[in-house]
């Protein structure tokens, strides 16, 4: 006869543990990560270009990592701002995971970085499920996508700590119903702030940087109703990393993820190799 075991383990326990550890590690060095989620073509890169240029002008050390299935187009665009940028080509993978992100940051992320912008793969489904170790999760939607986007993708909008509407310069042309959009956001994520932006007209540019810096300096980020249940009792982390996060990294090195799957590409001045073919134990510092 069969025997049974009650496991009661969160399926994503290992990712969640890695995310917690990365968040603590980043916090210890004064960096806050912002995870940007949206559909393809919603204007993430254009908005980010404007935010990076602003940060550069204000001499705020920021960095950006951008993930796509293929091409380095986004990194080339973002790198023109003069900010350190890394392109990740996921080779078809639809989302980033925390252990991958850590692998890409190791040896690359400049020590003085205050805000790390992570432009996730353009996709409102898969990336929503994975905590990357961010302290601020932002979900974006362009006015051209329709007012019901938050209802169609409730997990992506329900877990956002900030919602940004992009391309508002096109709102009149496409008949965007602002009140309906706000109502739909409030339904899946009561209390979350919604910021209206237009990278073309400069509307709302700077808000993202300001919010990120505020969170870095201790301001409380919005806590979505949907996020609360993630930490519900009964989930026992299954991974080797504990809650504290700030400890030696004895877990398998993320090079396994980087080697087997997505490739990192570097779009900044100091190329380097990391993680591949070394014989020593991998304990890269960020």
């Amino acid at each position: 006869m069969c025997r049974t075991t009650d496991l009661r383990q969160a399926v994503l326990a290992r990712n969640d543990d890695s995310a917690r550890a990365l968040r603590a590690e980043l916090a210890a060095r004064g960096t806050v990560a912002v995870n940007l989620l949206s559909s393809p073509g919603s204007g993430k890169t254009a908005l980010l270009e404007a935010e990076l240029a602003l940060a550069r002008a204000r001499e705020v050390p920021v960095a950006a990592l951008t993930a796509d299935l293929a091409t380095e187009n986004d990194a080339r665009r973002l790198a023109r701002t003069g900010v350190p940028v890394q392109q990740v080509c996921t080779d078809g993978l639809c989302h980033l995971e925390a252990v991958m992100l850590r692998g890409y940051l190791a040896g690359w992320l400049p020590a003085d970085t205050r805000v790390l912008f992570v432009e996730n793969v353009g996709n409102l489904v898969c990336p929503a499920v994975y905590d990357l170790g961010e302290t601020l999760r932002v979900t974006l939607a362009a006015v051209t996508e329709g007012e019901d986007k938050p209802l169609k993708y409730p997990t992506a909008f329900g877990l956002a700590q900030l919602v940004m509407v992009t391309k508002t310069d096109l709102a009149a042309a496409v008949g965007f119903d602002e009140d309906a959009f706000l109502g739909n956001v409030a339904r899946v994520n009561p209390g979350v702030d919604v910021v209206f932006t237009s990278a073309r007209e400069g509307r709302g540019v700077g808000t993202l940087l300001e919010r990120a810096l505020a969170v870095r300096d201790g301001a409380a980020a919005h806590r979505p109703v949907m996020a609360a249940a993630q930490a519900a009792p009964g989930y026992s982390p299954g991974g080797p990393l504990g809650e504290s996060g700030a400890h030696a990294h004895s877990a398998p090195h993320p090079a396994t993820a980087a080697g087997a799957g997505p490739r990192p590409h570097h779009e900044h001045e100091h190329e380097h190799g990391h993680g591949h073919g070394h014989g020593h134990p991998m304990v890269d510092r960020l």
């Binding site: 496991l7 399926v11 993978l93 639809c94 499920v129 209802l151 329900g158 899946v188 519900a232």
Partner: protein
């Protein structure tokens, strides 16, 4: 389709548990999947059978229990099913500041039924 990654995480955790507890084969894996977990059970089922090949879980059955999203407003002591798409504003006070999601985000391995030994070869 991240269900493949989710399936791989399930297999990884169950294999780990099998090693720890000295089992070599798995009959059934029981999962709880909340309706707001962002995972499609049918897609997960398809991916699970693929990921199981060549592991201790080969031939194992995946049994998924769907969990409805239920919310509560602490201010009004009202409980409701959030539905899909979810309505997380309180039907009593209309607010959201004191609303908590009680269930619906589960993505959890509930338990495993072990087989006695390696499963007999199929076919």
């Amino acid at each position: 389709m991240h269900e493949m990654s989710i399936a791989a995480a399930v297999v990884d955790q169950v294999e780990r548990a099998a090693r720890e507890q000295g089992f070599t084969a798995v009959a059934t894996v029981r999962l709880d999947v909340g309706e707001l977990a962002g995972v499609v059970p049918r897609a997960l089922d398809f991916c699970f059978s693929l990921v199981c090949e060549g592991t201790a879980l080969e031939g194992a059955t995946l049994t998924t229990r769907s969990v409805r999203a239920r919310a509560r407003c602490a201010g009004c002591a009202v409980e409701w099913y959030a539905g899909m798409p979810p309505d997380l504003g309180c039907p009593g006070c209309g607010g959201g500041t004191r609303v908590e999601l009680l269930t619906g985000r589960e993505l959890r391995i509930r338990g495993v039924e072990w087989a006695e030994g390696p499963l007999p070869a199929q076919g």
